[in-house]
């Protein structure tokens, strides 16, 4: 019955659907309308009384490239600037309308620690537009977007650009603490004698460099190691992981070939050719993948280079506005940004289970069920991590013992899950993935039909995020 109604509702002419939504909203508190809403339960809108509707006008990203390829001589703000210019070009938004710019990033280039500001200045935004940078590991650009939502919802801003950037081709490698200390002391030394006495303390081991930590600071465990243990805890085999990775690459390849990845904007790299598409999509065969040795837990682990996301360079940006502002400016937005949720849990044994915790919470907050979601976009850090999350969501035992729930969250149907590829195949520039997920959900809803998308991601530190994206009526 419900599905029948849903079906008819879906096929209503656009205008009447639009009208229905419009007239319902102002009356949402009256009982009459609630009854009416009851009949179209699964397709109500998530607008809330007295809160501004917030829309994504559009979003773009640079092609995501394997680290050490065409972007390797750039600096992070160069990439971020490319995304910002791309967004300006795509949306034609007047530069001085933008109230604020927020970017997410993880490994910071020390010269441009507020990379948002450096990129904005270079991209030709008004120098009167303030910009700040946020960091929250792999959900940094999610944080940039939700910060924008907060600024708009509270009436502080009307138009905000949010984005993210990561350049793993170059990372800040530092002198050792001892060497740094000596160099600073040397700076302070005034006389030759003082300088000589500082220099005399030099030892050869001062020269050994310090790399940015690849491991979790609190547990000293690398993420790949943790992912391998997570896969083992959920008894996920190497074959399952390889199969899932192959699915991701195959779907990404198809999406690329069919031109579905419309958020990608070409980028003319100075001194190099124009980059037009992602270069990490490489569907292989299960046999080929089976030959790889484990990358983290040697020699018996199951996480390999083929079933993990690779180090990626890339940047993304989205234009977020208050709905009335967008409409007043004559835009046709792509999607609403609705309820969102941040979660965190044990960074040792549940490092990558954020989506499992965040998904039910955000659904409950929005009053939706798993069945209401038409497009799932989950960040794929590792095949093992995605499969572990799916198993955890499908387990009553896990829900009861670790989530304090009576029953399991439920399994997202795989046919609606990351249909255009994911981080495993498209790549994962840490700070930029969140915007890609949101744009993928929005574009899929437009292309495939459907009203709600669910974006979810895990992040270092045992944190997680989920957000509901609602298609903007056509």
């Amino acid at each position: 019955m419900t599905s029948l109604l849903t079906y008819t509702f879906k096929n209503l002419p656009n205008t009447s659907k639009w009208a229905l939504r419009f007239c319902m909203r102002p009356l949402s508190s009256s009982s009459q309308v609630q009854a009416a809403a009851g009949t179209t339960k699964s397709k109500k809108t998530l607008a809330k009384p007295n809160i501004r509707n917030i829309v994504v006008v559009d979003g773009v990203r640079t092609p995501f490239l394997l680290s050490g390829t065409s972007y390797k001589d750039l600096m992070p703000h160069d990439l971020a600037r490319a995304a910002l210019s791309g967004l300006l070009h795509r949306t034609s938004v007047p530069k001085d309308v933008v109230d604020y710019i927020i970017f997410g990033t993880v490994i910071q280039e020390v010269k441009t620690s507020n990379v948002a500001r450096e990129a904005a200045l270079g991209a030709g935004f008004s120098d009167k537009t303030p910009a700040h940078t946020v960091t929250m590991a792999c959900i940094s650009s999610n944080q940039a977007m939700t910060t924008a939502v907060g600024l708009i919802a509270s009436g502080q801003c009307d138009v905000v650009v949010a984005g993210g950037v990561e350049l793993m081709s170059d990372i800040p490698i530092r002198h050792s603490r001892k060497m740094r200390k000596m160099m600073l002391d040397l700076n302070k030394a005034k006389t030759l004698a003082q300088r000589l006495s500082v220099i005399s303390k030099f030892r050869l081991n001062f020269l050994s460099p310090e790399l940015p930590a690849v491991s979790e600071f609190s547990t000293s465990e690398t993420m790949g190691h943790s992912a391998d243990r997570l896969a083992a805890a959920f008894a996920i085999s190497r074959e399952e992981q390889d199969e899932y990775a192959l699915r991701s690459h195959s779907l990404a390849k198809r999406a690329q070939d069919e031109g579905l990845l419309s958020d990608v904007v070409p980028f003319k790299v100075p001194g190099r050719d124009t980059v037009t598409q992602d270069n990490g999509i490489r569907p292989s065969s299960l046999d080929q993948m089976a030959k790889l040795k484990p990358a983290f837990i040697k020699p018996y682990g199951t996480v390999t280079a083929a079933n993990s996301s690779f180090l990626t360079d890339g940047a993304s940006a989205v234009l977020i506005m208050a709905e009335e502002k967008a409409l007043a400016m004559g835009y046709k937005p792509k999607a609403y940004l609705r309820d969102f949720m941040y979660v965190s849990q044990d960074p040792k044994d549940q490092l990558l289970l954020g989506p499992t915790y965040a998904t039910p919470k955000v659904l409950e907050k929005a009053g939706l069920t798993m069945n209401d979601i038409d497009a799932f976009e989950f960040h794929e850090a590792f095949s093992g991590q995605i499969l572990a999350n799916l198993k955890a969501m499908d387990s009553d035992w896990f829900a009861q013992n670790y989530m304090g729930r009576k029953a399991k969250v439920g399994l997202p149907p795989l046919e609606k899950f990351n249909n255009w590829g994911g981080s495993l195949s498209l790549g994962h520039p840490f700070g930029a993935t969140g915007c890609r997920l949101v744009m993928a959900a929005a574009n899929r809803l437009r292309k495939e039909g459907g009203q709600y998308g669910l974006v979810a991601a895990c992040a270092a530190g045992g944190q997680g995020h989920a957000m509901i994206v609602e298609a903007y009526p056509k």
């Binding site: 083992a232 549940q350 955890a392 896990f398």
Partner: protein, 728 residues
């Protein structure tokens, strides 16, 4: 053992968790339904790998008992004879324990060394067969793997045979004891402990298969060229008899120095290894089993096994669970003791307020806690994050804020009755009704402290030993008014702090201080009789005390020693007499307070290891010199004068009901006061040495010095009736 590889699972996290593996055991039974009759071991075949699961029924740990042993041989014979099976995996289904070594009850039940020798020989046969197994055997170890358990899994290393120290899994991998590490898993779709064992088994099976298929070579990888050369060089050097003799000599010297010849086992081990190398492995095995048999029958062995059992008993709360678990603790006084108590509380996750009256004193205490935790980071037993999380359980403050939420307050202020009274009154004005007030004192009677309390049923004594984070003992003192729930609560907190606990009745000096005081009195007399501090120290350590008697006075503090001796002297009169307190008085007036002031009998300097005698003591010693009594002043007599006074007082404590059980008396003496562990504590000592012999000694000294050596009634009863033992 060439063909066997071991896989150790990092046991640090799983070791202490409770057993939740019933579901898993059921599963393994279904795979081997025909073999249900075995109780300790069952096995199933997965492909061509035999999975042998060890699980002693009704016990938290697996021990090498005779039943386990025979079942194991039975199973292994089946494995070896089956053509289907090409390799085997050994695994325990108990989370956190592989095999915890030989079954002490089994050894205890033996009455002759021949019986033990036979058990040992059977075990050797088993290990030898395992070592020479034609099919690869993989031992999958999760948790403790001790003694014989280690031999099942891994060829033993020389160093470990001697000292019996425990090794973390990652160290074991570095040492080459184990080949692979499997880290414990987190939550999945079943309890993590259960899944970890399953996973360990899966990994072990792939290794067993790999070994059988020769895809993995059994040789341990020597990544570094140096390591290779080193082992080559060592084995070449060992082939020269002269070098070997030198090594034996060196090792023997070192062992002799460390054990003072009081512990027979290490020397016998060297002996056995020597036999094995010089006369071949068969002679070595024979010698090993014979020596093992002999050792099991020694007094030392009985004493140490008794101590082990006692320690296990004192790690239980016989008063039951307290009505309200202590969640918020407060410690008054951030001195050495107060900060120590805070440290052992916060590192177990107990929220602790540390209160002192001045900022510098508080800061010193907080720094002590931090240093204690940070030292563990340096030793890599804690991560810096764990340290920080633990340290955040500590709140330092100068006022009584937050005390209204405290469940227990432990005061560790100066040993002064009026100060303790003041603190008690101040505290009772702010704490809730259910809150326990515990006093950390070494000699002030708890009953006297409690006189000013509005709620004496909530007042109890908790006597910690310094340094608190190293000394295992906690002496809990109950007055007649202390309620049972208060005691249960104090024991519970103590156990959570990782302590071994004895509960004694209130009285001057309780149990530990009371036993120590007459011995200290004798120490002073012996010094007055002209025996130098160095000589006295060497006499006491060679008897088995870990710290020499003169050094002990310095460590305790001369002022504390005098304070206690005076107080208890008043209470107990002539029995506690002996040396003149004038010596301590003179030392105090000259500022020789022991280690804390840098001078006592010895001089203490930062960074100087060998301590020198304090020559300024000569005049004090000379001025108080007494004539020595030649009949009772031989080295042995001096040792026994000290020990018998200690033992006699301990037995009197049992006679008077201060002690509830001899076990607590032994544990208190060994863990709190350093009574020689090889003697097993005063009560074990009387049982093993013979009550009559001790009474004879006491009578001999009584004849010279009088009442101080009069044996107590209970000891005399034991001497009169040789069947009477403290331990049956």
């Amino acid at each position: 053992m060439v063909a066997s590889r071991a896989i150790g699972s990092l046991s640090r996290f799983t070791a202490s968790r409770t057993l939740r593996c019933s579901g898993y055991i059921c599963r393994s039974f279904t795979r081997a339904s025909a073999l249900l009759t075995r109780t300790h071991i069952n096995y199933g075949v997965k492909g061509d790998v035999a999975v042998i699961r060890i699980n002693s029924p009704n016990s938290k740990v697996n021990t090498l008992s005779q039943e386990l042993h025979s079942e194991f041989m039975e199973v292994m014979n089946e494995v070896w004879s089956s053509s289907q099976i090409r390799s085997a995996v050994l695994i325990s289904t108990k989370p956190g324990c592989f095999i915890a070594g030989a079954d002490l009850n089994m050894l205890n039940a033996c009455t002759t060394s021949q019986e033990v020798t036979q058990i040992s020989q059977e075990a050797q046969k088993m290990f030898e067969k395992l070592e020479k197994s034609t099919k690869p055997v993989v031992a999958a170890i999760n948790g403790s793997c001790l003694g014989g358990g280690l031999e099942v899994g891994i060829p033993a290393a020389f160093d470990m045979m001697l000292t019996g120290r425990s090794i973390r899994a990652d160290r074991a991998k570095k040492m080459g004891l184990v080949d692979q590490l499997v880290e414990p898993l987190g939550p999945g779709v079943k309890p993590p402990e259960e899944r970890t064992i399953e996973y360990l088994e899966e990994v072990a099976i792939t290794f067993a298969k790999g070994l059988a298929d020769k895809k993995i070579t059994p040789k341990r990888d020597k990544g570094l060229v140096e390591t290779f050369y080193l082992t080559e060089m060592t084995s070449y050097a060992l082939s020269i008899p002269f070098v070997r003799q030198q090594i034996y000599k060196k090792v023997e010297e070192k062992v002799q120095k460390q054990t003072k010849g009081l512990y027979p086992a290490p020397l016998k081990i060297i002996d056995v290894v020597k036999t094995g190398i010089e006369q071949g492995s068969n002679a070595g095995y024979l010698s090993e089993s014979q020596r093992f048999g002999e050792l099991a029958m020694t007094k030392e062995s009985k004493a140490l096994m008794g101590l082990y059992r006692g320690q296990t008993q004192c790690k239980k709360n016989k008063f039951g669970a307290p009505q309200k678990e202590v969640k918020q603790l407060a410690v008054l006084g951030a001195g050495l003791m107060g900060a120590g108590i805070a440290q052992v509380s916060v590192d177990k996750g107990l929220q602790t307020i540390l209160k002192d009256t001045t900022l510098p004193a508080l800061g010193r205490g907080q720094q002590q806690v931090f240093k204690g935790l940070n030292d563990k980071v340096k030793k890599k037993t804690l991560t810096s994050f764990e340290r920080d999380a633990m340290f955040s359980n500590l709140i330092g403050q100068l006022d009584y804020r937050g005390f209204e939420k405290a469940d227990m307050v432990i005061e560790a202020v100066f040993e002064d009755l009026s100060l303790k009274h003041r603190v008690l009154k101040e505290t009772e004005a702010v704490i809730p009704d259910h809150c326990v007030f515990a006093s950390n004192t070494s000699a002030l009677p708890i009953g006297e402290i409690a006189t000013v309390s509005k709620r004496p049923e909530k007042v109890i004594g908790m006597h910690y030993f310094s340094p608190v984070d190293k000394m295992q003992l906690l002496e809990i003192i109950t007055t007649e008014k202390t309620s049972k729930d208060t005691t249960a609560s104090a024991v519970d907190v103590g156990l959570r702090q990782g302590k071994v606990i004895i509960v004694v009745k209130d009285g001057p000096g309780f149990y530990t201080t009371r036993c120590l005081t007459p011995m200290m009195s004798e120490v002073i007399r012996i010094l007055q009789e002209g025996v130098g501090p160095k000589k006295l120290d060497s006499l006491t350590t060679s008897f088995g005390f870990p710290v020499g008697a003169a050094t002990l006075v310095d460590e305790v503090g001369v002022d504390v020693a005098k304070h206690v001796a005076e107080n208890l002297g008043k209470e107990f009169g002539e029995r506690f007499a002996g040396g003149s307190l004038e010596m301590l008085q003179q030392m105090i007036s000259k500022g020789f307070l022991g280690r804390k002031s840098g001078k006592g009998f010895y001089i203490y300097q930062e960074g100087v290891k060998n301590k020198n005698l304090n020559s300024d003591m000569d005049s004090i010693l000379a001025s108080l010199k007494m004539p020595s009594q030649p009949d009772v002043s031989s080295d042995e007599d001096i040792q026994y004068r000290l020990v018998t006074r200690f033992v006699n007082e301990a037995i009197l404590c049992l006679q008077e009901g201060v002690l509830a059980t001899p076990t607590e008396g032994d544990i208190g003496a060994v863990f709190g006061l350093g009574f020689p562990p090889c003697l097993g504590g005063p009560f074990h000592f009387v049982d093993l040495y013979g009550a009559q012999k001790i009474v004879d000694r006491l009578r001999k000294y009584e004849a010279v010095y009088g009442k101080q050596f009069t044996p107590c009634q209970l000891l005399v009863d034991h001497a009169n009736n040789p069947n009477k033992k403290f331990y049956q």
